[in-house]
Symmetry: C2
Subunit: 372 residues, 2 copies
Amino acid sequence: MKRIVFPLAILLIAAASHAQTPPPPLISPEVRSDNRVTFRFRAPNDKEVAVQIEGKPKPIPMQKDDQGVWSVTTDPLAPDYYGYSIIADGVHMFDPSNHAIKPNFLNRASELHIPGPASLPWEVNDVPHGEIHHHFYKSGVVGDHRDFFVYTPPGYDPRAKQTYPVLYLLHGYSDDASAWTAVGRANVILDNMIAQGKAKPMIVVMPLGYGAPEVLLPNSGVWRDRAITDRNFNKFRDALLMEVIPRVEEEYPVIKDRNSRAIAGLSMGGSESLLTGLNTLSKFAWIGAFSSGGMDPDFDKDFPGLDSSSAQQLHLLWIACGTDDGLIEFNRKFRAWLASKNIAHVDIETPGYHTWMVWRSNLTEFTALLFR
Amino acid sequence: MKRIVFPLAILLIAAASHAQTPPPPLISPEVRSDNRVTFRFRAPNDKEVAVQIEGKPKPIPMQKDDQGVWSVTTDPLAPDYYGYSIIADGVHMFDPSNHAIKPNFLNRASELHIPGPASLPWEVNDVPHGEIHHHFYKSGVVGDHRDFFVYTPPGYDPRAKQTYPVLYLLHGYSDDASAWTAVGRANVILDNMIAQGKAKPMIVVMPLGYGAPEVLLPNSGVWRDRAITDRNFNKFRDALLMEVIPRVEEEYPVIKDRNSRAIAGLSMGGSESLLTGLNTLSKFAWIGAFSSGGMDPDFDKDFPGLDSSSAQQLHLLWIACGTDDGLIEFNRKFRAWLASKNIAHVDIETPGYHTWMVWRSNLTEFTALLFR
C-alpha cells in the first residue's frame, strides 16, 4: 500500500487540482468559555456577509480580514441549541465549516450548541435512554410515501406486559418528520424528565405533518389561500386518525383510551393539534398548542361542536406562545375566544420569538403535566 | 389575525431588513427529462465556482450570468443518488438551494437523486417496508455517548417467535452512524431485495464506527500514525463485541450463532469488518469488505491466526473495490495475500471510484449471498 486515499483526501486532492492550494479549514462556530461565539466564513470576494441566529431579531454583520475570512464574535448566549445561517451577499447558506445541520425542507440553518448544566432538559445526561423508531409507509389518504417517528421510553420492552400513554407530537411548517427529535431533542428531554420522575413514561409519536405536501412548493398559496391551507389541515387529520394512530395502536403497547392519548404541536402543528384534538374529543383528552398559527381566525367555524360542556371532557388544554412571536396576537385572540365560551385552558406566555428554544421549554413543561 | 408569520417569512423579512430585496429562490439541482442536471448558485461577487459530483474525477466549472447566478448543465447522469458540493472561491459548500444533505462529520455534500426504474434496488417501491431503530448509549469502552441503528425487516414483530440472522454493517471514515441508511439506502435496498425474494429477511445493525473518535479532529494523525489508527480499529472492535452485539442479542430476536452472523463495511468499515471478522471466526461466518483501506499492509500481523484451515469455517469472504478507487491496489494486494495462503474468497472489481454508487451496488450483491 503506497498511500491510503479516503474520501476527504480525494476531495482535497480534487480541490487542489482546481484551485492552486486548498484553503486551511476554519473553526466555526467557536464557543468561548464565556459563551460568546465566533462565526467564521471564507468568502474573499463577497461584499456583505452576516450571521442570522435563531431568536435574534436581526442578522449580525461580519467583518472580513486580509485572508478573505469573515468573522464576528457575539455577546454571550444562553446555553441552548440555536439554528443559524450565514447570509452571503443576500443568500442564506449553511455554515460550510459545521457538520451539524438542522433538517428542514425550506430553510437553511446550521446548528450551534452552547453546552449548559446537566439540569437543562435538552442536555444528554447519564440516564437511561429511550429509543427512536423510524417507520415508512405509503399513505392512502395523501398518496405519497411518508414516514413517522416513535419514541419509546427507557426500559421499553415490546415483549413485556407494560402499556403506555401516548403523545402525538407535531412539527411546524417547513420541518420534516425528524424535527422534534433532531432539532427539538424530544427524546433527550423525555429521557431526562422520566429519569427525574417529572414526566410519566410515555410513547411519543411524531408523524409527518403535511396533509397536502404541495404546500412546500414555491407559490403554493398556503397561508394566503384558505382552500389549500384547509386541505393541508384536513388531510393531515385524516392521515393521523386513519393511518398513523391505528398502526401505532397495532404495533405498540399503547393504552387505547382518550384519557391516555395527548396531541400537541408547534406552529402549523399547534393548529393541527387544536383542529384535530378539539374536534375529536372522543380520542384526545390532553391538547397542547405551541406558537400556533395558520388556522382560520373564524373560531366558531373551526370548532363547530365545541362548548363549555363538551370541553369538560378535556383534562388539559395548554396554549403557549412567545411574547415576541409574530403569532402572539393570534394566540391571544384564540384564548379570548376560549374564555368567551367558558372553556377552561392554560395560558402560557414566555419571552421569546418563533423559535425552538421556546418549543423545547414548552415541551418540557407540557409533558410534566400529562397523564396525571 | 392580521397576518400569519411563519419561520420562513421571518427569515425573509429579516433578510429584507438587511439586504434591500431578497433574491428570488433558485432551482438547484434541476434534473431534466434526459437526466442532464443543471446546478445553480447565486454568488455575484465570486471569481470561480464549480460543482464537484461524487464519482466525477474533477470539479465541473460553472459560468456566471448577469444576475450573479452561476450555473452549469451536466451530461446525462445514470439514475442514482449522488453527493455533490459547490466549490465557491475554493470553499466546499452545501448547495443552499437544496434541502437534501448527506450527513458527514468532515465533508460537505448535498444530495442529488436521478430517479430511475423501480428495478433499481435503492428506489422506494410499493413493497412492505422495514423499520429503522435508533439506539443511544454511553460506551464504557470508548467513554462517549454514542448511537447505533438497527433495521428490522418488513413484518418484524418483536412479540412473535420468528428469529432472524443479523448483518453488522459498518460505515466509512467521516460518516456518522446514519450513513448506511441516510446515504446508503440500506433499508430501501433490503426492503426491495426481501420483497423480490433475493435476500433473506435479516436484521441489520449499523453502529458508530469510531473506536477513537478523536480521529475526526484536525491533525489527529489517523492513517499516517499506526498507533492512533490501530487504537481506532481495536476500540471499535471491543465496543462492537462487548457492547453492541450483547445489547442487540438481548433486545432483538437474532439467531445467536456464527452461521447467522455477518459483518461487512465500506472503506474504514471494510477494514474493521476484516480485522474484527477474520480474527473472531467464532462469531462471524460471513464477511464483506467494500473498498477497504487503512489496515496495516503487514497482513501476517493483522491476521495472526488465519490460515487455510481456520478460514474453512467461513461461508463467505467477499472483497470488492472499484477499479478507479485509489484503494484498488491495496485490495489487490490483500487478495493476493489471501490467495497465497489458500484462503477462499470472492474477488469483485467493478467500475467506479470511492463512492456510494459502488457501495449501494456492493450491498445489493452481498446481501443476496448471505445466510444461504
